[in-house]
Every structure is written in structure tokens, then in C-alpha cells.
Point group: C2
Chain length 327, copies 2
């Protein structure tokens, strides 16, 4: 996401200082896991998008830094608690908080992180605070709704594509969209423009998650940074799988069902078999066509925003990069 690089850098410098403060806070058993979780990185995409959105309507972006930290802390809190629920041992190549410390530490430190996000939000002290707090808490609840749907899908055999798209809207897209909208609101942007940025964010977020699912199967692990086929091994109901089930002929459907039902298997064999069905059913191309639809919706919303064409370039590029990125 090189186009947002200056915002990522500006955010990261300010955030490192905050993480250091958090690390020094007592009781250490509570705040050290928080500092650990925040310092192991991530793309810092949401705060960078928020800073950029703010910059569209205001010369200065320092006034949006507390809200940018709030959104990044909240995002990492959801990852921390999701990792407990998913029993995931590794994140970004390092042990997850519940593995490194304990499950109780991960529950309580996560709780404190979620509250900390609201504390940073309050520090912003914007004239739109009531509206921002409303949007932030609605969005945060939607992320929980999305996580619940994702967990429910594990034991459901008849998940539809509409349900899947709604799940990724809630679990991923709304936080990206709200990041942009809050950035605009802090800069006192007109409501119409703030709402168009939200619409842009929803559509980019959906495309972003579809590309994430695609990279899990077809990405280069050396670039993407994750082992290939994680979703396949876990029978994750992604767009690729749901669409393959719809399109598969009798033989391919038998292959899919057999591999989905196996509890013991060689990971590489399972990945190769299911990838074979994905290729036969051409769902990779379809996923890309769907991404382009969302990309175009995002660009159409962006087009209507009342700022100069020059100012729109970074978000135009980001909408394209979200679907073409290899990591």
C-alpha cells in the first residue's frame, strides 16, 4: 500500500510512542500483553486510511491521530480475541497472546484494549464526538456480528453467497469504511462526502477481503506471508468454495465433499485436490470479476466526492491495489 506510505509512517512513529507508554503502565501483567499485541505490526491500513481521509478536508491531520490509534487498537483487540476463539497459536509469525501469556491474560488484556480504544476516541475531543462515538460503537458491534456469523458458518452446511458477503461486510468492510468516515468527520467534512467515503470503504473492503481469500489459495507464500491453503484445510466457507460448490459437476462435487468430510488428511494433497476443482470451475476468474464490480462501485462513490481530482488519486490507486495486491 505504497500510496498511503507517508500516512502509515506518520502514524507508526506516533503510535510507537503510545505503545511504549502502554508498556510502562501498571499492572504490567495487564498492559504488557497489550503492548506486545500492538507492536507485532500489521499493515496499519485503517489508521492510514483515516489520516488520508482527514487530509482530504483539512491541512492538518494531527487532530485525527487519537481516533486513528483508537481504530488500530480496536482492530488488534478483535484479532487477539478471535485468536482465542479460533485456537490460533501463531499470528504474523509470532506466538499469539493467549499462547505467549495465558488465556485469562488474553481475555482481560483484550477487554482492556477494547476500552482503551474508546479512551483514545474520547481524547480526540472533536465537535462531532457524539456522532463519532455512535458510529464507532455501531461499527464495533457489527465486527462482533461478523465474527459471530463466521463462527456460526463453521457448523452450517448451507451457507449462501449472500450470507458470506454479509459476513465479510460486517467482519472486515465496515471497519475500513468507518475509518474513512471518521477521518472525514474529524476534519468537519460535509456529511454527504463523509457518507460517500463510507460507501467507498465498504466496497473496497469487500474487494480487499475477496482478494485475501484468493491469495490464501493462489498467492505466493513468500510474498503474501501466510502458508498457502489455510482456508482450504480449515474448510473455511469462502466465496471460492461456495461458488465452486454451486458450479461443480457431479464428479467435482464428490471430490469437494470427500475432502471436506475427511478429519485426517495430508494438507498438500487436500489443497491440490480442491485447487483442482477451483480451476475446473473457473472460480478464480469469477472472484476477480466480482472484485472488479466492487472496485468500480468504490470508484463511483469516490467520483462523487466534492474534492479535487488530484486529491482523489491515492484512493483511486488504493481501490485498484486492494484487488491486485499480492500481499
Amino acid at each position: 500500500m505504497n500510496n498511503l506510505y507517508s500516512h502509515i509512517l506518520g502514524f507508526e512513529n506516533a503510535f510507537r510512542i503510545e505503545i511504549e507508554k502502554i508498556k510502562q503502565t501498571k499492572p504490567f501483567q495487564l498492559y504488557e500483553p497489550i503492548a506486545y499485541s500492538l507492536s507485532i505490526g500489521g499493515k496499519r491500513l485503517r489508521p492510514a486510511l483515516m489520516l488520508h481521509a482527514a487530509s482530504l478536508f483539512s491541512e492538518s491531520t494531527t487532530q485525527v491521530l487519537p481516533a486513528a490509534m483508537a481504530i488500530e487498537i480496536f482492530h488488534n483487540f478483535t484479532l487477539l480475541h478471535d485468536d482465542i476463539m479460533d485456537k490460533a497459536d501463531v499470528r504474523r509469525g509470532l506466538p499469539t497472546v493467549h499462547k505467549k501469556y495465558s488465556e485469562n491474560a488474553a481475555i482481560l488484556s483484550g477487554d482492556a484494549m477494547s476500552i482503551l480504544a474508546f479512551k483514545y476516541l474520547a481524547q480526540g475531543n472533536s465537535v462531532s464526538l457524539a456522532e463519532i462515538l455512535n458510529l464507532f460503537s455501531d461499527t464495533a458491534l457489527e465486527v462482533c456480528d461478523g465474527q459471530q456469523m463466521d463462527m456460526d458458518f463453521e457448523s452450517l452446511s448451507n451457507v449462501t453467497i449472500v450470507e458470506y458477503m454479509e459476513m465479510i461486510r460486517l467482519k472486515t468492510a465496515v471497519l475500513i469504511a468507518s475509518s474513512l468516515k471518521i477521518g472525514a468527520l474529524v476534519s468537519n467534512a460535509p456529511h454527504a462526502d463523509a457518507n460517500l467515503l463510507y460507501e467507498y470503504g465498504i466496497n473496497v473492503g469487500l474487494a480487499f477481503q475477496l482478494q485475501d481469500d484468493w491469495l490464501d489459495v493462489f498467492g505466493d507464500p513468500a510474498i503474501f506471508g501466510k502458508k498457502q491453503g489455510g482456508d482450504i484445510c480449515a474448510n473455511k466457507k469462502t466465496y471460492l468454495l461456495l461458488r465452486a460448490i454451486e458450479k461443480a459437476d457431479h464428479t467435482s462435487l464428490t471430490i469437494l465433499n470427500e475432502w471436506i468430510q475427511k478429519t485426517e488428511f495430508d494438507a498438500n494433497e487436500k489443497i491440490a485436490a480442491i485447487k483442482g476443482v477451483y480451476e475446473q470451475t473457473k472460480v478464480s476468474e469469477e472472484t476477480h470479476r466480482l472484485m472488479v464490480i466492487y472496485q468500480n462501485k468504490a470508484l463511483a462513490a469516490l467520483d462523487k466526492i466534492n474534492v479535487s481530482e488530484e486529491k482523489k488519486q491515492i484512493l483511486q490507486a488504493f481501490a485498484i491495489e486492494a484487488t491486485e495486491r499480492m500481499k
Copy 2:
């Protein structure tokens, strides 16, 4: 807490409607455990205190209802997650959320409850929202700090009384104090008075918790509603135990240490033995003297608040009831 009865009743009526709405929210797997946790009761002490504090400075108290719901939802969220961490199976005579549903359901529903608290807070839409959000998030973090200290105490052999008092200030007193202060702020009370209510709340909260610890040992289970000696069986480091360790002679100290170290024991025998030491060391009387100190500090703070004597009567009675209550 009969003196607050009208506020408890008013709150409960409004809250039942909200709980019903929450119960009808999708995805049900997320919101049903929240509705369950909120509907199994509790004293509704914090919202009632908030409503009462608001009534000292304003004719109407309806404007404080959303914040009162926020504080009650937050309080129940902490109980829900504490029950996971403490592996507690029963609360208020009913199965805890992680027992009735699952641990994952309890984690995620708790997360959503914590966010829901902030959502209700935003709905209040008061002119002091930034200040209220700051106070609420600081208080919420302090409650986490207190829970962390409480967990740390389990494996510490040298907890001091000062540390214990700090733990109960954080885990219990600050939320009571903030309930009162937020009530005052929403009613646009002068800051000096809001801060005096906070001071009153801290001291009443400390007395309240000391009485809770005392009731665990000396209360009548039929009235208190909890089995006697729960803290004793769990080696909870209460004021009673810490002070008994300080005051015990050689023989009594040996008795205490022996029972504390036993991993298998008859509960009634252990309770009787440790109660015997408490009686011999007169720590029950000492606990009451300490409660009276906090009660007097609370009354002194109340005395300075700039409202009529008549309006102070309910909080005067509450300060006394907090230390004399049997349930």
C-alpha cells in the same frame, strides 16, 4: 437498599424493554447470551445511584437513563468475563454464560456487551459527553486493573493490606463513584459537587466491599444469598484474612497456614477453623471499625455538597446501610 427503591424500579422498567430489544437482535447466538446475562438480575445499585445523583441537580432524570444502562451493562460484562477467568459455574443461582452456552460465546458476547455500554453512553448525547466518555473509559480500565490485581493476588504470598484496599478501590469502588459522578454531570451539576459525589462513592464503595467480605464469613446464607465461607475455601486474600495473618499468635498462624496449604479438605471444617482464628484475633470488629472510617469519610464528602440537607438524606442512609446491610 430500600431508600433507592423508586430509582431501582424506574430503571428496571426501562431496562426490561431494552433487554427485550437486545434479545430480538440478530445474530441471536451473539445477543441472546447478553440478554440472559442482563436479565438474571442483580441489585441495579449503580444505575439507581446514577439516577439519584442526577435527581439532586435536576427535576428530570430521564436524560440519564442511557448512561445508567451503560453502567449496568458494563458491570454485567465484567461479571460475565470474570466468571470465565474464575471458572465459576453459577451466578445468582443460575448457570454462568460460559456454562450455559460456550466459552467462545461468553468471550464474544462479553465483548459485544462492553461495546454496547459505550453505545448507550453515546445515546445520552449530553453536552459533557467528552468528559463523561473520558471518565467512563478511565473507570472501565481501572476495573480491569483491579481484576488483574485480584488475579495476581492468587499466586502472591505477601499481599499487603494497602495493596488489598487498592485492589477493591479499583475493582469495586470506582464504578460506584463514577456512577454518581456521571449522574451529576449529565444534570449539569457544578464540578465541585460532582467530584464530592465521586469521593463519597469511593468511600462508600470501599465500605460496601468490606461488608461483602464480612458477609461471606459471618452473614446468614438465607439472607445474603450466597453460601457461607466461599472466600475462605478459595483462600481469597480479604481484609479479614490479611489482618488475621498480621495479628495471629504462633498457634493461630500455624492453623491458618495449614488450612491455606491443604488442597483437599472438608469445607465446613476449614470454614470453622479459620472463623475460629478470625474470632480469636477479633478481625471482625476491626473490619467494622474500618468500615465506619470509610462511612464517615463518605458522609463528610456528602456534607460539603451544595444541595439541601433534605436531598442528602437518601445518600446518608445509603452510606450507613452499605455497612450494616445483611444482604
